[in-house]
Assembly symmetry: C2
């Protein structure tokens, strides 16, 4: 979810997706990334920026430059499958960029799904991979149902817990829709995204109930007191915590990666040491289960009935991804807005590596 | 979650698991079920009753007798795989009992996971399968990570929606733990179970916030006004709705089963017509991804740190399944409590089929 900086009073410059991609890949290459890494990280960031998920968009470029230049993330990793059986494998990402690992793993999962109907890859020795939805979408764009998970440094308490335990451990899924945009679902297993906490704080608004907790694990609606996020589910927070646990099990236990609570903070101060983040991707070939026409007819009917479902007063019923695809159309027309802090980071990066800064759109 | 009838003032009789299983299978056979169906449905119900999930325990026997005798569920189905590729298949359950279909499908998924590292089966023309956790657990008991999903007749609104759309569409997962009970997670994608709404109503207590809605889709804390359940997530209910959608996609779209909103009500009045409920099961072989010792070491550490995590004041931190396994130990010692309505149904069923009624434990 984006903080929608374009509604702030300051002037927000907009850029084309192509220009941002060129700048991101040039910056990553200058920081020490090989071509595959730069391309994968750029593609993942632009997924976020294109769809309006700005927290996982090109805002991350500054971080990625820092961790590649700092040595935490290897610019030239040698990723390899360390274990394979039939339709599954474990990828050792060699401390490379998480986006490169996840796209590579999903390619392997899709090849397996082509042959066996399903394929899955667990990933270890990886790093922050940005928007989980990017990898699920990569599968849907090639006709598969895709799933993607990852763990991350602890920030979410357990149900009835009073310390950070799981990462925000996202679950993403996507499915191909004939003649339309993919069904695209991407959620953190926390009750609220942290950037939303920051947004509510800066606006002076109370947080939604049961979404974040103070240092004692007691839920608070005061953003300034937030020390950890609550698991999804409120009074039934065991659900969010259990989903985070499922993600942890697939991404870290099954892959041999670090558990969330053993991963050093994404935000440093150490940007030189690898973190061994885990991830898990899965692809299903619909035609292995059902005639393709029947699958598409069922999905089309599901989406049509969903979008025609009666809305609550003042609300709008949408399928997962509808909001994001709508935003993507807006941004394709009028450009991708870049918040002031990210714009300043662009200036610094362009200076540091003597590469051309992208030019904002006129108007 | 059980309504814990044993805390009510009325006298609650207790029974052994073995006696309940004998009675359930005898009743199902008398109603027209073949041996496999009776055994599978009995096993699934006892999963619920053993673990304290009484809403999905032997309370369901009366319903299952009704639907088998009524013809909605075939007592002698001819289940067959209608599509297979590598590690996946689609099972046509021939309008048989959902428990038989799900155990059968999970057996197939485990055989595939043995060979390919992963296996999945989509199920159509099935029926109510009871506790989703039973099928995930069946995989964990044999050393696999198991997942089970199903759809069901509509009862949960969409995010910002004002009518019933998804079923409670559960997600269950289980993993084998060396020297301990499996990690066992089983949740509905609704914000609250309906039987909990009924319990709060009968106790005159206000529902937890943002869990259930009135006829206009507006959240209410008055159980008597509840017309539909809210999706998990409160202000972020798109998460619960999206998870329900993922379950729908795997269980119904991929299998060719009916979508939730097309499934006639579980509760009749028509008990003669098949409903074509869908489900989906998946098994992963941990050793295909990682050395078994490393997998178990990671899982053990995850669980140890989780159980030692700092609790909030007055709370207790538990892993998924811990509460249920603890209850199972209690029930193994002192018997399985049967609520008065279910006890009366036992009387009726025993009379109807002239089979011996189970005898309560003394004391």
């Amino acid at each position: 979810m984006s903080a929608r900086p374009d509604s702030a009073p300051v002037r927000i410059a907009r850029y084309t997706e192509a220009d941002l991609f060129v700048f991101c890949t040039a910056a990553l290459a200058a920081a020490g990334a090989d071509a595959e890494t730069a391309e994968a990280a750029g593609r993942a960031m632009l997924h976020g920026s294109r769809l309006g998920v700005d927290s996982h968009g090109v805002r991350l470029l500054d971080h990625y430059v820092t961790v590649i230049a700092g040595g935490r993330v290897k610019g030239h990793p040698e990723m390899r499958f360390v274990r394979r059986l039939g339709a599954v494998a474990t990828l050792d990402a060699d401390d490379g960029h998480g986006a490169r690992a996840a796209y590579y793993a999903m390619d392997h999962a899709m090849a397996a799904a082509e042959q066996f109907g399903i394929g899955a890859v667990a990933i270890r020795n990886s790093s922050h991979f940005g928007p989980a939805g990017a990898y699920a979408l990569a599968a849907a764009e090639r006709g598969f149902v895709g799933l993607a998970f990852c763990n991350s440094d602890s920030f979410v308490r357990l149900h009835a817990g009073a310390e950070r335990f799981h990462g925000t451990n996202p679950i993403a899924a996507a499915a191909p829709v004939d003649g339309g945009r993919p069904w695209l679902f991407d959620m953190a297993t926390s009750a609220i995204p942290y950037n939303r906490v920051l947004l509510y704080g800066s606006l002076g608004r109370a947080l939604p109930p049961e979404t974040a907790s103070d240092v004692e694990g007691v839920d608070t609606r005061d953003a300034s007191l937030v020390e950890m996020l609550a698991p999804l589910g409120g009074a039934f927070g065991f659900k969010g915590a259990g989903l985070a646990g499922l993600v942890e099990l697939l991404s870290a236990v099954l892959s041999g990666a670090r558990l969330s609570f053993d991963i050093p903070p994404m935000g440093g101060p150490d940007y030189a040491t690898a973190r061994n983040v885990g991830a898990f991707v899965l692809a299903l070939q619909p035609s292995a289960f059902l005639e393709p026409e029947a699958f598409q007819a069922g999905l089309a009917r599901y989406l049509a009935v969903l979008r025609g479902s009666r809305p609550a007063s003042g609300g709008e019923v949408m399928a997962p991804g509808d909001r994001e695809w709508r935003e993507a159309e807006r941004r394709a027309r009028s450009g991708i807005p870049i918040d002031p802090a990210t714009a300043l980071a662009f200036d610094r990066i362009a200076d540091r590596f003597s590469i051309p800064r992208p030019r904002p759109l006129a108007g």
